[in-house]
């Protein structure tokens, strides 16, 4: 610690160079932390799936529906335990009208700032295949009894301060999901929790309501967005999926059935091999920054050859001088790393709280994007490694240099 003032003074020797190097390191760690956080959140999303659940969708694209008649036929496939319709509603809270503290139910303007996932489902079979959603029996019964009733997760309830019996309105941006007379009204009939140990990846920031409500309110024109299929034996996933798709291979709406995990992953795969892309970017940036910091330290040591000779003359050992050079590099890395971590945290807070972006993230289950402590720690470790690696070679030069040679430097 007694050498810290000495190190800090040397960082101030060339403000501009030090600042640029610190910012470069900050950018590297910012990118690393942010990209790893996105990957971590995606992996968390995929962990929240079950091997016993399949998803059947239109083979052309997820945006096309699947006929309602398919449900009973899927149920008849050997190995299928139960089937439930699930349609992504795409609803958002209507915006508050000026002068009113509550949202205006007749308003056609949506409030994207508080978007959350909301699904229209066949409630009984859907909840039966989701043991993750833990609900008291009386709430379950109340939910089934009220067509306008909805089930919300604990996180969602806390976010909006909703309690059992509270009502709110949602309006979808998807035209077929809109009523002519305005937004849909929902009443909170159930608030589910989940076992944080057994189902740590389960998202409680979602809302489920009755598909029947959506179907009838929109004039009975809708089809199913997807079918969730619970199978008896997870090892039969491939066979059952193929059997389901064979049923409809000669129909107008052919299907594609896959595991729930593969279904979730397909959203991510829309951006290509995201893990490879993000990790590739991370590696490229990290290597570049290593070169930048190493260059800075090389220049710093070269500029101070005589000073290093003086330190050794005064009695500093070669190891101590080497340690000072490495310490200076580590200090730059630590400051840059800290800034990068703070920046990453900041940007994630920003995107998860900016209307529009927040909505898009919620749509793919990334509304809880945050910088995990482990990722931050890893980011700092990367910074420390870069600092050490960048400073090592110049430090070794300082270690090996003869005093008389260094004192002769002009």
């Amino acid at each position: 610690m007694k050498f810290l003032p000495y190190l800090l003074k040397h960082l101030r020797r060339n403000w501009f160079r030090t600042t640029l190097t610190v910012l470069a390191m900050a950018l590297c760690i910012f990118l690393f932390c942010t990209l790893q956080s996105v990957l971590a959140q995606i992996n968390l999303l995929l962990e929240g799936t079950s091997a016993k659940r399949l998803v059947t969708r239109n083979s052309v694209s997820i945006v096309f529906d699947v006929p309602l008649a398919y449900g009973p036929r899927i149920q008849s496939v050997p190995g299928v335990e139960r089937v439930a319709i699930s349609s992504w509603f795409g609803g958002s809270l209507p915006a508050k009208k000026e002068g009113k503290s509550e949202p205006d139910s007749s308003s056609s303007t949506t409030d994207w700032s508080n978007f959350f996932q909301n699904l229209a489902v066949e409630m009984e079979p859907f909840l039966a295949m989701y043991p993750e959603y833990q609900l008291p029996p009386e709430q379950y019964q109340a939910l089934l009894a009220d067509q306008r009733g909805c089930l919300i997760g604990r996180k969602l309830a806390s976010k909006f301060g909703w309690k059992l019996g509270d009502s709110f309105f949602l309006e979808s941006f998807i035209p077929p999901h809109r009523k002519p007379d305005g937004p849909f009204e929902f009443v909170v009939r159930g608030i589910f929790d989940t076992d944080p140990v057994k189902y740590s990846a389960t998202d409680t920031n979602i809302m489920l309501f009755h598909f029947k409500y959506l179907y009838e309110a929109t004039g009975r024109q809708l089809s199913a967005g997807t079918y969730y299929v619970e199978i008896k034996d997870p090892n039969q996933a491939g066979e059952v999926s193929a059997a389901i798709d064979r049923l409809f291979e000669n129909s107008d709406a052919q299907t594609h059935t896959e595991t729930e995990k593969a279904f979730q992953a397909s959203f991510v795969a829309m951006a290509g091999n995201l893990a490879l892309l993000l990790n590739g970017i991370g590696v490229a940036v990290t290597f570049t920054i290593l070169l930048v910091v190493a260059n800075t330290m090389s220049i710093a040591v070269r500029e101070r050859r005589k000073e290093i000779g003086v330190l050794k003359t005064l009695g500093f050992t070669s190891a101590q001088v080497m340690g000072l050079v490495v310490a200076e590099s580590l200090l730059i890395a630590a400051i840059g790393g800290g800034l990068g971590i703070a920046g990453s945290r900041g940007i994630m807070w920003l995107v998860t709280n900016t209307p529009g972006i927040k909505g898009a993230l919620a749509g793919i289950g990334l509304s809880e994007l945050t910088l995990q402590p482990l990722v931050a720690l890893l980011g700092f470790a990367v910074a420390v490694f870069l600092g050490f690696a960048a400073g090592f070679v110049p430090a070794l030069g300082a270690y090996r240099a003869r005093i008389t040679d260094m004192l002769r430097t002009v």
Partner: protein
Amino acid sequence: MAMVDVRNVTKVYRKDAEELVVLNGLSLQVEEGDYAALMGPSGSGKSTLLNLIAGIDKPTSGDVMVAGTNVAALGETELASFRSHNVGFIFQFYNLIPVLNATENVELPLLLTHLSKAERRERALTALKVVGLADRATHYPRQLSGGQEQRVAIARAIVTDPKVIVADEPTGDLDSKSATEILDLVGTLNKDFKKTIVMVTHDPRAAERARTQHHLEKGVLKD
């Protein structure tokens, strides 16, 4: 007793197949409390000899006894420790650290000790007082004149209370007035503080101040 006893020292520099003999079987004694000047033409080996005495270089053969220790036989770490406790070095071009102020420059050798921050600060300020620069304690080298910089360098050389002070042309980069002030100061260190001084110089005025003069030529003493 001799504070510095150089015994039959040879220093040879090798570059590829070429050999350059800088010191050739040289022997020299500097008594404790003496003020010795090493003189000679350029390339005579005087700076090389000074470096051997200071322990920042090693002879090819021979022994260099300083304060009773054969510095030629010490390992790198031991030698560094020996220098920090026993040798004060004054460079021709001061060699102050530009980012440190006067006090911090003087304090630098004390970072290798177990003294507390307050103790280090106190000793540094005392050394600055000895050289007459207590009022420049917070000034940076760029804010000091050449003579003042050299005085700070002298304060740095004496702050650890070394047994031997070696000076490599301490007035070489100074004007006449500043050079006189520095020589006065070095004289005071010898006379009042009983420090053993070994000084390399081209300057006859500087050599006059020394009690003993040694002349080198082509790596041998011409006394």
